[in-house]
């Protein structure tokens, strides 16, 4: 993974990210009420097995309740993604202003294989633990 210092151009992306993170934090108290409105996973209904994103809402609810370990046990990748998404978003504008290092996501074959492997391992975990 290559890195470069943040530039002023990155401020708009950091701002959008911060807005999404701040919205998520402000709506966290309503998540439990809204989680019932979400439709069930079609794959789970048809086959009884989870799709790669199954458990993400439950993991989010555990995070809102401050139960990070339980959230990780439900869906590790979704929990890490949610954590990085919210905390990273709140810090992003300051990070850009301070010219902190940002990763350069290269579409190299090795990077793509690593991403696919991570998604696949997480999905196998969900299937084994019958999430």
């Amino acid at each position: 993974m290559n890195w470069r210092p943040a530039r002023p151009d990155d401020l708009s992306l950091a701002g959008v990210w911060a807005l999404a993170a701040a919205s998520a934090v402000s709506l966290a108290p309503l998540l439990r009420a809204w989680s019932g409105l979400l439709p069930p996973c079609p794959l789970h209904v048809l086959t009884g097995l989870p799709c790669p994103t199954c458990g993400a809402t439950r993991a989010a609810l555990r995070l809102v309740d401050g139960q990070g370990l339980q959230a990780l046990a439900i869906n590790p990748l979704a929990t890490i993604g949610l954590g990085v998404g919210v905390i990273g978003g709140l810090l992003a504008p300051a990070w850009v202003v301070l010219s902190g290092p940002v990763p350069i996501a290269t579409p190299a074959r090795g990077t793509r294989i690593a991403v696919i492997a991570t998604l696949a391992i997480n999905w196998v975990y969900l299937v084994i633990h019958r999430v």
Binding site: D9, L13, S23, P42, L49
Partner: protein, 239 residues
């Protein structure tokens, strides 16, 4: 004595030869006219004109319009477009849901149409949850694009493709069929937008869009095939 013409030496100074006036150099060729930028991202255009012109262009000539999208890292305008379009579509959809809900219930009294209060709360809090949905949608789309090897112009490219592809969701102003037609049109624009902005084929863009559904379907078929094989084998042993 015959007069001879005076020599130049007798004149003293040689009259200066007037310089040969060369033609003025041709003016440098004028630079080719810059490609028009999508109205929403043109500086100096008033916001209402820019919005309606952008929507009209996206609906009438999407390929050319997406080709005019600038690929700068500044995604603020594109995000704002997606936010405005999504807000309008959500509020109009909520309005029709509340107005037409009773009418639908009269035709299908046994069907559960959900809670009106939930619709109202979702509509009122839309400015808060729509930014989350946009960011998650773009992130997920970009991940799928990355997996199929099509993320050539970065997250900002995907943000622009997705935000502008939501223009047809304004068809929600038409009750009943507007949302359905708009959703399908948004999907088509999404594929075109990703193809043009990331400079990939339409096939690869479509693969990125449908990747989650494809993976789940293939997985589901494999599971059913395995179960089918196991049941067949058990029946064969039992018979």
């Amino acid at each position: 004595m015959e007069e001879r013409p005076p020599t130049s030496a007798e004149f003293g100074e040689v009259p200066p030869v007037p310089p040969v006036m060369s033609e003025p150099p041709p003016p440098p060729p004028s630079p080719p006219p810059s490609a028009p930028v999508i109205p929403w991202e043109q500086p100096g255009v008033d916001i209402f004109s820019a919005f309606f012109q952008t929507v009209k262009l996206l609906l009438s000539s999407p390929h050319r319009t997406f080709a005019s999208v600038p690929l700068t890292p500044n995604i603020g305008r594109a995000f704002a477009f997606g936010l405005i379009v999504s807000l309008i579509a959500t509020w109009v959809g909520t309005f029709w849901q509340l107005v037409m809900g009773e009418w639908w219930k009269s035709f299908m009294p046994d069907t559960d149409f959900g809670n009106n209060m939930a619709e109202i709360i979702l509509g009122l809090t839309a400015p808060l949850w729509i930014p989350i949905v946009i960011f998650l949608s773009v992130g997920f789309q970009h991940l799928c694009l990355f997996v199929v090897g099509g993320a050539r112009n970065g997250f900002s490219g995907t943000m622009r493709a997705l935000s502008y592809s939501w223009a047809p969701s304004l068809l929600a102003v038409i009750p009943v069929c507007g949302q359905i037609v708009g959703a399908i049109w948004c999907l088509v624009l999404n594929i075109i937008g990703l193809s043009v902005i990331h400079r990939i084929t339409l096939g690869r863009a479509a693969l990125a869009v449908f990747l989650p559904a494809l993976v789940c379907c293939i997985f589901g078929v494999l599971i059913m095939a395995l179960f089918g094989a196991a049941i067949f084998s058990a029946l064969g042993k039992g018979g």
